[in-house]
Amino acid sequence: MEINSRTENDVTIVAVSGSIDALTSEQMLAAFMKEIESGAAHLVADLSGVEYTSSAGLRCLLTVQKEMRQKGGDFRLAGVQPNVLKILKLSGFTRLIKMYDSVAEAAASFSGE
């Protein structure tokens, strides 16, 4: 798994690539928690490079969302690929987390909030 973070106009973007599963989800969670602890208020997960997520990945995404909300911020997904989208839909996560086609759209969604 590869994880790269950057901040653009007050929005922290964490780009993930590879599979999110029991073997990699802790690494991903640590990367997101680092950004949350650094004070990120607007967080976007760029999942355009993720081909698969298992239950461990879903739990990780939900933890990030809960942490962000507790701290008064918000968390959004961008570029979700069809295979991952199918799993997010099956598990009802599309009803819990806001999703956008691109990072630009996800970042723009924070403006005015």
Binding site: L23, S54, S55, K89, L90, S91, G92
Partner: protein, 279 residues
């Protein structure tokens, strides 16, 4: 190969559930053992063949013989009398005469009970009067009774009576009963589940009823799957075969295609499954 307890859960989905046979082809080749099998509705038929240790070919042959269009051809005229108020209405309502499906189940599975399968087998149905999921396991349940109960498609087959209780289709309590595997202590859960297809056109009261049923069961599938994902301590690996063509309830001629799709979907997850079992 692994100390992790592996469960295979096959949800409702009629003929699409044959994808589980494709998964087993891959698992057999890779020598990945399954420690328990859970089946619901159409998935219970394939769960049974896997738990009994049948070869993929025997499972295909038997399920092709078992599940043919003519199992719903004979009408249950008593139900029509019930519909028009000419007979007292009760819970034994089902538009199809189930004699043929019961005979087929008997021919295929004989007197086997749920206590003497090669791999522990759990079949789910739904208690008609309480709505609760019933997990059938152990020698007190005959396999053919459990299967008949699990496939009691509402309106089509009457609820099945076992003892003093009536059971309807397992999908009504959980279309993908992953919770059974969690309760039984599984670590890695391989889940094959399918959403119910929506109608493209509603031209009869039965199609209307099916549409309502699909809406309800798909929402139930999502809610339960979300809950189980969050509740489980280890991994739930969804295997979701892609079908380019719509698969209908009795499209048994498409079983080889469905099995191939199951095999491909499993191959996609194989590297990860192996790593997980070896970790």
């Amino acid at each position: 190969m692994s100390a992790k307890k592996v469960a295979l859960v096959i949800g409702s989905g009629s003929v699409k559930c044959a994808a589980a046979l494709g998964l087993m082809k891959v698992f057999e080749r890779e020598k990945i053992n399954v420690d328990m099998v859970v089946g619901c509705s159409g998935g219970s038929l394939y769960a049974a063949t896997i738990a009994l240790g049948w070869s993929t070919q025997k499972a295909i042959d038997e399920t092709l013989r078992l599940w043919t269009r003519d199992v719903t051809a004979a009408r249950n005229w008593g139900a029509y009398l019930q519909l028009f108020g000419l007979r007292r209405f009760d819970e034994r309502f089902g538009l199809v005469n189930d004699k043929l499906i019961r005979r087929r189940l008997s021919e295929a599975f004989g007197n086997t009970n749920l206590g003497n399968t090669q791999i522990p087998l759990f079949i789910t149905a739904t208690d008609f009067y309480s709505g609760e999921q019933e997990v059938m396991h152990g020698s007190q349940y005959s396999l053919q009774d459990a299967l008949r109960a699990s496939i009691s498609i509402p309106y089509i087959f009457a609820p099945h009576k076992i003892g003093e209780r009536y059971f309807v289709d397992g999908y009504l309590s959980d279309p993908l009963p992953v919770g059974v595997a969690i309760r039984e202590g599984a670590d890695v859960i391989i889940a094959i589940g399918f959403e119910s297809p929506y109608q493209t056109r509603v031209s009869s009261i039965l199609r209307y009823a099916f549409e309502i049923s699909s809406i309800t069961s798909n929402n139930l599938l999502q809610s339960n799957y979300a809950f189980h994902n969050l509740a489980h301590h280890s991994e739930i690996i969804p295997i979701m075969p892609e079908f380019e063509h719509r698969i209908h309830l009795f499209d048994t001629d498409k079983i080889p295609y469905v099995i191939d799709a199951g095999e491909r979907a499993t191959e996609e997850q194989l590297t990860y499954i192996r790593k997980l079992l070896e970790s």
